[in-house]
């Protein structure tokens, strides 16, 4: 077996001759590393702006000549008249989204898994993830037909529900509903592939033992996809504050903006809209910091309950 030998050989030492030998590999990768540093790492370095007073006039100054203000930008953000409501909106829309989104994806995956008419199952599945590939602009345009005053739902029930024009948390549920309508089929795929990994022998054994369908789902299918559920849940809790500005902005309108404003949008509004770069960056940094903390907490809790941890 020369396997071990070739493995030992694989540890290539850094030297001029290996660099020359691998010049093609270097030429094929270094341009992209430079690209990566410019477009992904320089913005990370931009986090320093959160601790500085940066306005359009001072942006071009070298970093050490800008005024360091410590945590003043963060204090300013927390004291902002929009901050509290924005925070409530972000958490509200994302907790509802995670809860209903996860449950509906699992239920949909189980239903697909239980479907016996295979052709029909395939058709349903194909149709269900079509909206995933349609842009948010188009979804928003379609959603306005359905939910606007006098739209499809209003005419169907012959009442005016003001679904998209009531300035309350009703809009959270409308947004979550649209999001689930768009993504449920796609999100179910991952659970379905987890279900495909469950040993069919378990189902046969359960059937012989007289377990009915619901019992088989409860005692075999759900425990079988449990690790997948936990991992996805931890990840979505980590991203709880990262509610995308695109979706919120497109599904919003001036009447309900108070309840659709989320952190990323707020950061844009203050950072670019009001040209207070330092403040805008501080909001973004706050969002990331809380995100990492939430991820670690969720991970810890999963560990306490004896689940496989993500990290």
């Amino acid at each position: 077996m020369s396997n071990k030998k070739s493995k030992a050989k694989r540890k290539t030492r850094l030297s001029l001759s290996t660099l020359w030998k691998q010049r093609y590999l270097l030429a094929m990768s270094i341009p992209f590393v430079i690209w990566l540093i410019i477009f992904k790492y320089i913005p990370l370095w931009g986090w320093t702006m959160a601790f500085q007073e940066v306005k359009p006039a001072t942006f071009n100054k070298p970093i050490f000549q800008r005024e360091f203000v410590g945590l003043a930008n963060f204090v300013k953000a927390f004291k902002d008249r929009l901050f509290t409501q924005t925070m409530i909106n972000t958490l509200g829309v994302s907790i509802i989204g995670i809860a209903i989104g996860t449950i509906s994806a699992i239920v949909f995956a189980i239903m697909l898994n239980e479907m016996k008419f295979l052709k029909f199952k395939k058709v349903t599945q194909t149709i269900s993830y079509l909206p995933h590939f349609v842009s948010w602009v188009i979804i928003a345009s379609i959603a306005k037909n359905v939910f606007n005053d006098g739209g499809v739902i209003d005419t169907l029930f012959k009442t005016n529900f003001h679904l998209m024009s009531t300035n309350s948390i009703l809009i959270w549920f409308v947004i979550v509903f649209i999001d689930i309508w768009k993504e449920v089929g796609w999100n179910a795929i991952i659970y379905l592939s987890a279900m495909a990994g469950i040993d069919p022998g378990l189902y046969e054994a359960a059937e012989i033992d007289g377990a009915n369908r619901l019992q088989r789902i409860w005692h075999i299918t759900l425990p079988g996809i449990r690790p997948t559920i936990i991992v996805l849940l931890i990840m979505s809790i980590g991203g709880a504050l990262n509610v995308g500005m695109e979706r919120q902005m497109l599904l919003s309108n001036p009447l309900v903006e108070e309840h659709t404003m989320v952190l990323s949008w707020f950061s844009y509004k203050r950072g670019i809209g009001n040209s207070d770069y330092g403040l805008g960056t501080a909001i973004g940094v706050f969002q990331s910091a809380v995100g990492i903390t939430l991820l670690l907490i969720a991970n810890k809790i999963a560990g306490l309950f004896g689940e496989d941890r993500l990290i």
């Binding site: 094929m28 410019i38 969002q287």
Partner: protein, 287 residues
């Protein structure tokens, strides 16, 4: 499992029929409105078969010079972005699949980190607009989002699964690493290349935020849609200055544009959906 059709199966079947209706109805509704007479639509928008068939909404859209350039921009960014994306992603993926590459580890780590932490909106905006001056430049659609690390990982995992004997044989025959990638690896990677090409193409065609943030003077079809959506009363400049008999409303125009912007996705979708899904399950297994 034995095929015994019980009551539960019938209920499931009905539930699925409802799900299909809920998913498709809004699309059919849009399609119907786009082919319906605009003044008639206002009366009641809840229909999926045009009541008064007309092509005037589309005629308006295709005549209006406001839509021609965005359409061209959308098509060009999709073509150029996909080509460059596929080329660069697969090339990089090959180098990172080579375990004997001196920088295999550090480069891989550098790329993977960016999947989890990012600079965020404001620093990226300032980099692109103030430092690199890419605002309203076509390059802003291509360069900053050139490589998706997730796609790169997909290709790399796929290459990892290929037999190494072919590469070694080519090397003995005197092929260099670029030739091995181009002549040996690429042809073998067709399925995963198709998958990432679709991801890039859909991403490019659907992109909206980059136009909104960086290039409002270089609008895409998606951005144009957004503009129409936010115009309560649209200025309708009537072409030819002659008597236009059919009225046109922003709503009907919006629906016609919605159809035009969705059509490419719906057309390629049934044929290529296995590739779409391919990436999803491949990504979940590896790494």
């Amino acid at each position: 499992m034995r095929k015994k059709i019980s009551a539960i199966d019938i209920i499931l079947f009905l539930v699925f029929v409802i799900i299909i209706i809920i998913t498709l109805y809004p699309f059919l509704n849009v399609l119907a409105i786009s082919f319906n007479d605009a003044t008639d639509t206002i009366k009641n928008i809840n229909f999926i078969i045009p009541r008064m068939f007309t092509l005037s909404n589309y005629k308006y859209v295709f005549k209006d010079s406001n839509f021609v350039m965005p359409f061209v921009t959308s098509v060009s960014r999709t073509l150029v972005g996909t080509l460059i994306g596929v080329f660069t992603t697969s090339m990089l993926a090959y180098t990172l699949s080579r375990k004997d590459f001196v920088f295999h580890k550090p480069f891989t780590i550098l790329f993977v980190i960016t999947m989890y932490v990012g600079g965020g909106l404001i620093p990226e905006y300032l980099l692109i607009m103030r430092t690199l001056h890419l605002g309203n430049n076509f390059l802003v659609y291509i360069i900053p989002g050139m490589i998706w690390v997730y796609n790169m990982i997909l290709v790399r995992s796929y290459i990892d699964g290929l037999p190494t004997a072919l590469q070694e044989a080519a090397r003995i025959d005197g092929a260099n690493d670029f030739q091995i990638w181009y002549k040996i690896i690429m042809p073998l990677c067709t399925p995963v290349i198709a998958t990432i090409a679709l991801y890039y193409a859909v991403g490019q065609w659907n992109a909206f935020m980059d136009t909104y943030l960086y290039a409002q003077k270089l609008p895409t079809l998606q951005f144009k849609m957004y503009e129409i959506m936010n115009q309560a009363t649209m200025k309708l400049d009537v072409h030819g200055s002659t008597n236009v008999t059919t009225a046109i409303t922003p709503m009907s125009i919006r629906m016609a544009v919605t159809v035009v912007a969705t059509l490419p996705i719906v057309i390629v979708y049934p044929f290529l959906q296995k590739y779409f899904i391919g990436g999803m399950t491949l990504g979940s297994v590896k790494d």
